[in-house]
């Protein structure tokens, strides 16, 4: 069984119509429940539930504290190559874009790692575009080996791999894989992914399961809000997370809500996810999926991120540079997207502390 079988079950279900008919009573019932179902999730992201947002926020805060304590984990991204052979219409790294490209050599990766480690960051997420000749499995593997010297937890956000490749990386110490479906809507997916392996919706959709079967501890999923209908993408990301959490109980699942940002692609979003909806969706994730990790990147502004502390978020990226070579500042490339929160690690730590939370740098011990 694939998660696609779950999606198919809702083929004739009209989310828009359902959301329009959510009553105050429905929302109240949902709020008072301990275990929510998928319709409760929808009740929470409806316009009707906006009137109850404060109560929902308090419930989310309570649940988050119960499972994660008064803490926020920190990590940083490390872009190692922005060459890409794909044509995703919304992405700054799209092969058609005339941008400054850079592919780090192993020496350069080591330099970047050293520089980033100086900030105190212990958990790193390294990213590449999809250019299999240049960014080969061998290159990914060696990058992992280099980063192990400087960080305690290493995750990747790269093109989908085969199960045995994930297993090889896991045995070398890989701790997490982030793989966004971008959009769960098949039609839209086909329209925005024009070339390369990424065209294959189904291969991408089943990637988290290959990761789980390979025994990697953490899996991050999500949709890129703005590509397609935001309600539909929120709904299916929640169901996807639930599906994975139920099927692979030994994996830690986390979810993100990246919003479309300005990039070199100059893509016009289909629909905008505003701050209120963003928060509604985030709170709904927490109430529906109690144990889920919720990841907030520096795509969001400093002020907005400050306000999200204590509402349900559990992981923050800090001091992020989204250009290749960004930490050493030597011949930088064009960034994948513009970051909004430009504070350094220290400033973010202080903001977290000011809200009564403890920033956590290290939450993993590499024993390999």
């Amino acid at each position: 069984m694939s998660f696609y079988d779950v999606i198919k079950k809702y083929e004739d279900f009209n989310i828009k119509e359902y959301l329009e008919n959510v009553s105050y009573e429905d929302v109240e019932k949902t709020i008072n429940k301990e275990n929510l179902n998928e319709f409760d999730f929808l009740n929470l992201i409806s316009n009707t539930s906006l009137e109850y947002i404060e109560i929902i926020a308090r419930k989310s805060q309570k649940l988050t504290k119960r499972y994660f304590g008064n803490t926020i984990s920190l990590y940083a991204p490390l872009y190692i190559s922005n060459y890409c052979t794909n044509k995703c219409t919304y992405c700054g790294f799209n092969k058609e874009n005339k941008i400054k490209r850079k592919h780090l050599s192993y020496e350069e990766i080591e330099k970047e790692a050293k520089e980033l480690a100086k900030t105190g960051i212990k958990h790193v997420l390294f990213l590449t575009g999809e250019a299999k000749e240049l960014v080969s499995f061998e290159y990914i593997k060696n990058t992992l080996i280099i980063l192990k010297k400087y960080f305690k937890s290493i995750s990747i956000e790269i093109y989908p791999l085969k199960e045995n490749e994930y297993r090889k990386l896991k045995n070398l110490g890989l701790d997490g894989v982030t793989i966004y479906q971008e959009t769960y809507d098949l039609e839209t997916y086909k329209k925005v992914h024009l070339e390369g392996q990424k065209k294959d919706y189904f291969y991408r959709l089943d990637t988290p399961e290959r990761v789980a079967r390979a025994g990697v501890r953490q899996i991050g999923i999500g949709a890129l809000y703005g590509l397609s209908d935001i309600y539909k993408d929120a709904f299916f990301s929640a169901l996807h997370a639930k599906y994975l959490m139920d099927k692979y109980i030994d994996c830690e699942i986390s979810i993100s809500l990246p919003r479309m940002k300005y990039s070199e692609s100059k893509f016009k979003p289909y629909q905008k996810l505003d701050n209120k909806k963003f928060i509604q969706i985030m709170l709904a994730f927490r109430l529906y999926l109690k144990y889920i990790g919720i990841n907030i990147s520096t795509r969001e502004s400093a002020e907005f991120r400050n306000n999200l502390i204590g509402l349900g978020a559990t992981k923050y990226s800090a001091g992020s540079k989204t250009d290749v070579g960004g930490y050493t500042k030597e011949n930088k490339s064009t960034p994948q997207f513009e970051t909004d929160d430009k504070r350094d690690v220290n400033e973010i730590c202080n903001a977290i502390k000011n809200r009564g939370y403890q920033p956590v740098f290290k939450d993993w011990e590499l024993i390999i």
Binding site: R66, T71, K362
Partner: protein, 256 residues
Amino acid sequence: MDKLILGEKEFNSRLFTGTGKFSDKSLIKPMLEMSKSEMITLALRRVDFDMPQENILNYIPKNVTLLPNTSGAKTAEEAVKIARIARTVGCGNFIKIEIINDMKYLFPDNEETIKATKILAKEGFIVLPYMMPDLIAAKRLEDAGAAAIMPLGSPIGSNKGLQTKYMIEILIENCKLPIIIDAGIGRPSHAAKAMEMGAAAVLVNSAIACSENPIKMGKAFSLAVQAGREAYLAKLAEEKKYAEASSPLTGFLFEE
């Protein structure tokens, strides 16, 4: 209160606390003072040796015994590795084995826990295994060389109290080792109840760390644990008194 002895070490307090989940690490010291707890658990995965202000060890007074745990381990092999690292970095001989393969309820894996206990006890660790209350597993842990048994009251962080009460009573009745209730204790009244039942100690983390005032809550738990222990000891005395009554209720059966 009577002393608790674990691996030749004496403890005046039967309340064990934890270092995780605090809003600020500097709350740990005053919390320990007010709760009088003498044993504190810490996840090795969280110990950050590179930055002094981040290193949790710098926030724990020297008179408090460290109970490093193997959080993050999914197999006996991993738990053993973590325990060895903990000892090498100076966390002492105590180790709480925590092997979890269920990220939803965080239930412990008894089978792997027994394996790890066997190996670590042989290496001279004072092993406190976190386990699912199951009598057979508890007996195997005894044989494997554990110093105490730590059954869960309810899932970690759930604050649901002693949902496994009956199973724990069975362990208390049938095990030679001290039974320390770990996980699920959300209120001082839960802790008192556990101690009244005859638990040797309780471990409380979230309920203290995540409360509005962890220092005050530490004190509340300390009092509850004391009250529960005294009640347990008093009850014992009472039962004894009945047993030694000078005129037995059924004595007539044996009269000529």
